[in-house]
Symmetry: C2
Subunit: 181 residues, 2 copies
Protein backbone atom coordinates (compact mmCIF):
# COMPACT_ATOMS: atom_id res chain seq x y z
CA UNK A 1 0.00 0.00 0.00
CA UNK A 2 2.24 2.81 -1.21
CA UNK A 3 -0.69 4.66 -2.77
CA UNK A 4 -0.59 7.11 0.10
CA UNK A 5 2.64 8.61 -1.26
CA UNK A 6 0.97 9.49 -4.52
CA UNK A 7 -2.10 10.86 -2.81
CA UNK A 8 0.16 13.15 -0.80
CA UNK A 9 1.95 14.38 -3.92
CA UNK A 10 -1.38 14.92 -5.69
CA UNK A 11 -2.64 16.97 -2.77
CA UNK A 12 0.58 18.99 -2.63
CA UNK A 13 0.34 19.71 -6.37
CA UNK A 14 -3.26 20.84 -6.10
CA UNK A 15 -2.62 23.11 -3.13
CA UNK A 16 0.39 24.70 -4.82
CA UNK A 17 -1.56 25.41 -8.00
CA UNK A 18 -4.81 26.55 -6.42
CA UNK A 19 -3.60 28.42 -3.38
CA UNK A 20 0.14 28.98 -3.78
CA UNK A 21 3.18 27.89 -1.77
CA UNK A 22 2.15 29.94 1.26
CA UNK A 23 -0.92 27.79 1.74
CA UNK A 24 0.73 24.46 0.99
CA UNK A 25 1.66 23.77 4.59
CA UNK A 26 2.24 20.29 5.95
CA UNK A 27 -1.05 20.49 7.82
CA UNK A 28 -2.96 21.52 4.71
CA UNK A 29 -1.32 18.84 2.55
CA UNK A 30 -2.01 16.16 5.14
CA UNK A 31 -5.63 17.23 5.41
CA UNK A 32 -6.12 17.30 1.63
CA UNK A 33 -4.49 13.89 1.26
CA UNK A 34 -6.64 12.59 4.10
CA UNK A 35 -3.75 11.44 6.23
CA UNK A 36 -2.54 12.81 9.55
CA UNK A 37 0.49 15.04 9.75
CA UNK A 38 2.41 12.18 11.34
CA UNK A 39 1.37 9.91 8.53
CA UNK A 40 2.60 12.40 5.96
CA UNK A 41 5.94 12.73 7.74
CA UNK A 42 6.32 8.99 7.71
CA UNK A 43 6.32 9.03 3.90
CA UNK A 44 8.20 12.33 3.53
CA UNK A 45 10.45 12.96 6.50
CA UNK A 46 10.62 16.71 5.94
CA UNK A 47 9.23 19.43 3.73
CA UNK A 48 12.41 19.30 1.65
CA UNK A 49 11.76 15.62 1.09
CA UNK A 50 8.27 16.48 -0.10
CA UNK A 51 9.70 19.00 -2.58
CA UNK A 52 12.25 16.46 -3.75
CA UNK A 53 9.48 13.93 -4.24
CA UNK A 54 7.61 16.36 -6.46
CA UNK A 55 10.79 17.09 -8.45
CA UNK A 56 11.34 13.38 -9.02
CA UNK A 57 7.77 13.05 -10.24
CA UNK A 58 8.30 15.98 -12.59
CA UNK A 59 11.39 14.38 -14.10
CA UNK A 60 9.62 11.09 -14.67
CA UNK A 61 6.61 12.76 -16.24
CA UNK A 62 8.74 15.03 -18.40
CA UNK A 63 10.54 12.05 -19.90
CA UNK A 64 7.22 10.35 -20.60
CA UNK A 65 5.80 13.53 -22.09
CA UNK A 66 8.76 13.94 -24.45
CA UNK A 67 7.76 10.59 -25.95
CA UNK A 68 4.15 11.71 -26.17
CA UNK A 69 5.24 14.85 -28.03
CA UNK A 70 7.22 12.77 -30.51
CA UNK A 71 4.43 10.32 -31.21
CA UNK A 72 1.44 12.68 -31.13
CA UNK A 73 -0.86 11.87 -34.08
CA UNK A 74 -1.56 15.53 -34.88
CA UNK A 75 2.08 16.56 -34.67
CA UNK A 76 4.53 17.69 -32.02
CA UNK A 77 3.67 21.40 -32.15
CA UNK A 78 -0.06 20.80 -31.97
CA UNK A 79 0.40 18.50 -28.99
CA UNK A 80 2.70 20.90 -27.17
CA UNK A 81 0.40 23.87 -27.62
CA UNK A 82 -2.70 21.90 -26.73
CA UNK A 83 -1.26 20.60 -23.48
CA UNK A 84 0.25 23.98 -22.56
CA UNK A 85 -2.98 25.92 -22.89
CA UNK A 86 -5.18 26.50 -19.84
CA UNK A 87 -7.14 23.35 -19.15
CA UNK A 88 -5.12 21.34 -21.65
CA UNK A 89 -3.18 19.21 -19.20
CA UNK A 90 -4.05 15.54 -18.98
CA UNK A 91 -4.43 13.87 -15.56
CA UNK A 92 -1.12 12.36 -14.58
CA UNK A 93 0.68 14.43 -17.22
CA UNK A 94 3.56 16.89 -16.85
CA UNK A 95 1.48 20.04 -17.04
CA UNK A 96 0.04 20.16 -13.56
CA UNK A 97 3.25 18.96 -11.93
CA UNK A 98 5.22 21.58 -13.86
CA UNK A 99 2.88 24.36 -12.79
CA UNK A 100 3.12 23.19 -9.20
CA UNK A 101 6.91 23.19 -9.26
CA UNK A 102 6.94 26.66 -10.80
CA UNK A 103 5.25 27.88 -7.65
CA UNK A 104 8.08 26.76 -5.40
CA UNK A 105 11.10 28.00 -7.38
CA UNK A 106 12.34 30.05 -4.47
CA UNK A 107 15.91 30.92 -3.67
CA UNK A 108 16.11 28.51 -0.75
CA UNK A 109 18.49 25.59 -0.32
CA UNK A 110 16.46 23.52 -2.74
CA UNK A 111 16.20 26.42 -5.17
CA UNK A 112 19.22 25.41 -7.16
CA UNK A 113 18.10 21.88 -7.90
CA UNK A 114 14.61 23.09 -8.78
CA UNK A 115 16.07 25.27 -11.49
CA UNK A 116 18.12 22.34 -12.74
CA UNK A 117 15.04 20.17 -13.05
CA UNK A 118 13.12 22.94 -14.82
CA UNK A 119 16.03 23.27 -17.26
CA UNK A 120 15.90 19.52 -17.86
CA UNK A 121 12.18 19.64 -18.59
CA UNK A 122 12.76 22.50 -20.97
CA UNK A 123 15.53 20.62 -22.78
CA UNK A 124 13.34 17.51 -23.04
CA UNK A 125 10.55 19.40 -24.75
CA UNK A 126 12.93 21.30 -27.02
CA UNK A 127 14.55 18.07 -28.21
CA UNK A 128 11.16 16.49 -28.82
CA UNK A 129 9.99 19.48 -30.86
CA UNK A 130 13.22 19.54 -32.86
CA UNK A 131 12.64 15.92 -33.82
CA UNK A 132 9.66 17.12 -35.84
CA UNK A 133 10.79 20.57 -36.91
CA UNK A 134 14.51 20.08 -37.48
CA UNK A 135 15.10 23.83 -37.66
CA UNK A 136 16.17 24.89 -34.14
CA UNK A 137 14.85 28.44 -34.45
CA UNK A 138 11.39 27.24 -35.45
CA UNK A 139 11.41 24.64 -32.70
CA UNK A 140 12.31 27.30 -30.19
CA UNK A 141 9.61 29.62 -31.48
CA UNK A 142 7.00 26.90 -31.13
CA UNK A 143 8.21 26.10 -27.63
CA UNK A 144 8.10 29.75 -26.58
CA UNK A 145 4.52 30.11 -27.80
CA UNK A 146 3.62 27.09 -25.71
CA UNK A 147 5.49 28.50 -22.75
CA UNK A 148 3.60 31.76 -23.16
CA UNK A 149 0.40 29.74 -22.81
CA UNK A 150 1.90 28.10 -19.73
CA UNK A 151 2.47 31.50 -18.23
CA UNK A 152 -1.17 32.41 -18.82
CA UNK A 153 -2.19 29.21 -17.11
CA UNK A 154 0.09 30.08 -14.22
CA UNK A 155 -1.34 33.55 -13.78
CA UNK A 156 -4.91 32.50 -14.48
CA UNK A 157 -5.27 35.11 -17.20
CA UNK A 158 -8.07 34.20 -19.61
CA UNK A 159 -7.37 33.94 -23.33
CA UNK A 160 -8.06 37.02 -25.46
CA UNK A 161 -11.75 37.05 -26.35
CA UNK A 162 -12.46 35.38 -29.65
CA UNK A 163 -9.08 33.70 -29.87
CA UNK A 164 -8.18 30.08 -29.23
CA UNK A 165 -5.29 27.69 -29.58
CA UNK A 166 -6.73 26.56 -32.92
CA UNK A 167 -6.10 30.04 -34.33
CA UNK A 168 -2.47 29.88 -33.27
CA UNK A 169 -2.06 26.46 -34.84
CA UNK A 170 -3.76 27.46 -38.06
CA UNK A 171 -1.47 30.46 -38.38
CA UNK A 172 1.70 28.58 -37.47
CA UNK A 173 0.94 25.75 -39.88
CA UNK A 174 1.63 28.15 -42.72
CA UNK A 175 5.23 28.25 -41.68
CA UNK A 176 5.67 24.74 -40.37
CA UNK A 177 6.07 21.45 -42.20
CA UNK A 178 2.77 19.61 -42.58
CA UNK A 179 2.04 17.75 -39.38
CA UNK A 180 -1.19 15.85 -39.78
CA UNK A 181 -4.73 16.99 -40.34
Amino acid sequence: MTGARDRVLDAYETLLIDHGPGSATLDAVAAAAEVSKGGLLYHFASKDALVTGLLDRLRERSAADADAIRTAPDGAVAYYLRTSAPGGGVPGGVTRTYLAVLRISEGSSTGRTIREVLAEVDADAFAALRAELDDPVLAWLAQLVGDGLYLRTLTGTPLPPGLGVEDLLARMRRYLPDAGS
Copy 2:
Protein backbone atom coordinates in the same frame (compact mmCIF):
# COMPACT_ATOMS: atom_id res chain seq x y z
CA MET B 1 10.50 63.15 1.62
CA THR B 2 8.52 60.22 0.26
CA GLY B 3 11.58 58.59 -1.34
CA ALA B 4 11.58 55.99 1.41
CA ARG B 5 8.42 54.45 -0.01
CA ASP B 6 10.09 53.81 -3.33
CA ARG B 7 13.22 52.45 -1.68
CA VAL B 8 11.03 49.98 0.20
CA LEU B 9 9.25 48.86 -2.96
CA ASP B 10 12.59 48.50 -4.77
CA ALA B 11 13.91 46.34 -1.97
CA TYR B 12 10.74 44.24 -1.92
CA GLU B 13 10.99 43.68 -5.68
CA THR B 14 14.62 42.65 -5.51
CA LEU B 15 14.04 40.21 -2.65
CA LEU B 16 11.06 38.62 -4.41
CA ILE B 17 13.00 38.12 -7.63
CA ASP B 18 16.30 36.99 -6.14
CA HIS B 19 15.16 34.92 -3.17
CA GLY B 20 11.44 34.29 -3.56
CA PRO B 21 8.41 35.23 -1.49
CA GLY B 22 9.50 33.04 1.41
CA SER B 23 12.53 35.24 2.00
CA ALA B 24 10.80 38.56 1.40
CA THR B 25 9.86 39.07 5.05
CA LEU B 26 9.21 42.45 6.59
CA ASP B 27 12.52 42.25 8.42
CA ALA B 28 14.43 41.45 5.25
CA VAL B 29 12.69 44.19 3.25
CA ALA B 30 13.33 46.74 5.97
CA ALA B 31 16.99 45.78 6.16
CA ALA B 32 17.43 45.91 2.38
CA ALA B 33 15.70 49.28 2.19
CA GLU B 34 17.83 50.51 5.08
CA VAL B 35 14.92 51.47 7.29
CA SER B 36 13.79 49.92 10.55
CA LYS B 37 10.86 47.58 10.67
CA GLY B 38 8.85 50.27 12.43
CA GLY B 39 9.78 52.72 9.71
CA LEU B 40 8.59 50.32 7.07
CA LEU B 41 5.30 49.75 8.85
CA TYR B 42 4.80 53.47 9.01
CA HIS B 43 4.77 53.66 5.22
CA PHE B 44 3.00 50.32 4.66
CA ALA B 45 0.79 49.44 7.59
CA SER B 46 0.74 45.72 6.84
CA LYS B 47 2.18 43.18 4.46
CA ASP B 48 -0.99 43.33 2.42
CA ALA B 49 -0.49 47.07 2.07
CA LEU B 50 3.02 46.37 0.80
CA VAL B 51 1.65 43.96 -1.79
CA THR B 52 -0.98 46.50 -2.81
CA GLY B 53 1.73 49.12 -3.19
CA LEU B 54 3.63 46.86 -5.55
CA LEU B 55 0.46 46.17 -7.56
CA ASP B 56 -0.18 49.90 -7.92
CA ARG B 57 3.37 50.35 -9.14
CA LEU B 58 2.88 47.54 -11.65
CA ARG B 59 -0.23 49.16 -13.05
CA GLU B 60 1.48 52.53 -13.47
CA ARG B 61 4.49 50.99 -15.14
CA SER B 62 2.40 48.81 -17.41
CA ALA B 63 0.56 51.83 -18.74
CA ALA B 64 3.86 53.62 -19.35
CA ASP B 65 5.32 50.53 -21.02
CA ALA B 66 2.36 50.23 -23.40
CA ASP B 67 3.34 53.65 -24.72
CA ALA B 68 6.95 52.59 -24.99
CA ILE B 69 5.88 49.55 -27.04
CA ARG B 70 3.89 51.74 -29.38
CA THR B 71 6.68 54.25 -29.95
CA ALA B 72 9.69 51.91 -30.00
CA PRO B 73 11.96 52.90 -32.92
CA ASP B 74 12.71 49.30 -33.93
CA GLY B 75 9.06 48.25 -33.75
CA ALA B 76 6.64 46.94 -31.15
CA VAL B 77 7.50 43.25 -31.52
CA ALA B 78 11.24 43.85 -31.32
CA TYR B 79 10.78 45.99 -28.22
CA TYR B 80 8.51 43.49 -26.52
CA LEU B 81 10.81 40.55 -27.16
CA ARG B 82 13.91 42.49 -26.16
CA THR B 83 12.48 43.58 -22.85
CA SER B 84 10.99 40.15 -22.11
CA ALA B 85 14.24 38.26 -22.58
CA PRO B 86 16.47 37.52 -19.57
CA GLY B 87 18.41 40.67 -18.71
CA GLY B 88 16.36 42.81 -21.07
CA GLY B 89 14.43 44.77 -18.49
CA VAL B 90 15.26 48.44 -18.06
CA PRO B 91 15.60 49.96 -14.56
CA GLY B 92 12.28 51.40 -13.53
CA GLY B 93 10.47 49.44 -16.25
CA VAL B 94 7.65 46.93 -15.98
CA THR B 95 9.75 43.83 -16.37
CA ARG B 96 11.21 43.57 -12.90
CA THR B 97 8.00 44.61 -11.20
CA TYR B 98 6.06 42.07 -13.23
CA LEU B 99 8.46 39.28 -12.33
CA ALA B 100 8.25 40.26 -8.68
CA VAL B 101 4.44 40.18 -8.71
CA LEU B 102 4.46 36.79 -10.42
CA ARG B 103 6.24 35.47 -7.36
CA ILE B 104 3.42 36.42 -5.04
CA SER B 105 0.39 35.24 -7.02
CA GLU B 106 -0.81 33.17 -4.11
CA GLY B 107 -4.36 32.32 -3.23
CA SER B 108 -4.50 34.61 -0.23
CA SER B 109 -6.95 37.43 0.31
CA THR B 110 -4.99 39.57 -2.14
CA GLY B 111 -4.74 36.72 -4.64
CA ARG B 112 -7.79 37.74 -6.58
CA THR B 113 -6.75 41.29 -7.21
CA ILE B 114 -3.26 40.16 -8.18
CA ARG B 115 -4.74 38.13 -10.99
CA GLU B 116 -6.83 41.07 -12.07
CA VAL B 117 -3.77 43.31 -12.29
CA LEU B 118 -1.84 40.66 -14.23
CA ALA B 119 -4.74 40.42 -16.66
CA GLU B 120 -4.68 44.20 -17.07
CA VAL B 121 -0.97 44.18 -17.82
CA ASP B 122 -1.53 41.45 -20.37
CA ALA B 123 -4.32 43.41 -22.04
CA ASP B 124 -2.17 46.56 -22.14
CA ALA B 125 0.64 44.79 -23.97
CA PHE B 126 -1.75 43.02 -26.34
CA ALA B 127 -3.40 46.28 -27.33
CA ALA B 128 -0.02 47.93 -27.87
CA LEU B 129 1.17 45.08 -30.09
CA ARG B 130 -2.07 45.11 -32.07
CA ALA B 131 -1.50 48.77 -32.84
CA GLU B 132 1.47 47.71 -34.93
CA LEU B 133 0.35 44.33 -36.18
CA ASP B 134 -3.36 44.83 -36.73
CA ASP B 135 -3.93 41.08 -37.12
CA PRO B 136 -4.99 39.85 -33.66
CA VAL B 137 -3.66 36.32 -34.16
CA LEU B 138 -0.21 37.58 -35.13
CA ALA B 139 -0.21 40.02 -32.22
CA TRP B 140 -1.10 37.22 -29.86
CA LEU B 141 1.61 34.99 -31.30
CA ALA B 142 4.21 37.69 -30.80
CA GLN B 143 3.03 38.29 -27.27
CA LEU B 144 3.14 34.60 -26.43
CA VAL B 145 6.71 34.32 -27.69
CA GLY B 146 7.64 37.22 -25.44
CA ASP B 147 5.78 35.63 -22.55
CA GLY B 148 7.68 32.41 -23.14
CA LEU B 149 10.87 34.42 -22.71
CA TYR B 150 9.40 35.88 -19.53
CA LEU B 151 8.83 32.40 -18.22
CA ARG B 152 12.47 31.52 -18.89
CA THR B 153 13.51 34.63 -17.00
CA LEU B 154 11.26 33.60 -14.15
CA THR B 155 12.69 30.10 -13.92
CA GLY B 156 16.26 31.15 -14.61
CA THR B 157 16.55 28.66 -17.45
CA PRO B 158 19.37 29.69 -19.83
CA LEU B 159 18.63 30.18 -23.52
CA PRO B 160 19.29 27.20 -25.82
CA PRO B 161 22.99 27.21 -26.74
CA GLY B 162 23.67 29.10 -29.97
CA LEU B 163 20.28 30.80 -30.05
CA GLY B 164 19.40 34.38 -29.16
CA VAL B 165 16.52 36.81 -29.38
CA GLU B 166 17.94 38.12 -32.67
CA ASP B 167 17.30 34.73 -34.26
CA LEU B 168 13.66 34.85 -33.17
CA LEU B 169 13.25 38.35 -34.53
CA ALA B 170 14.94 37.53 -37.83
CA ARG B 171 12.63 34.57 -38.29
CA MET B 172 9.48 36.39 -37.27
CA ARG B 173 10.21 39.36 -39.52
CA ARG B 174 9.52 37.13 -42.49
CA TYR B 175 5.91 36.96 -41.43
CA LEU B 176 5.47 40.40 -39.92
CA PRO B 177 5.06 43.79 -41.55
CA ASP B 178 8.38 45.62 -41.86
CA ALA B 179 9.11 47.34 -38.56
CA GLY B 180 12.39 49.17 -38.88
CA SER B 181 15.93 47.98 -39.49
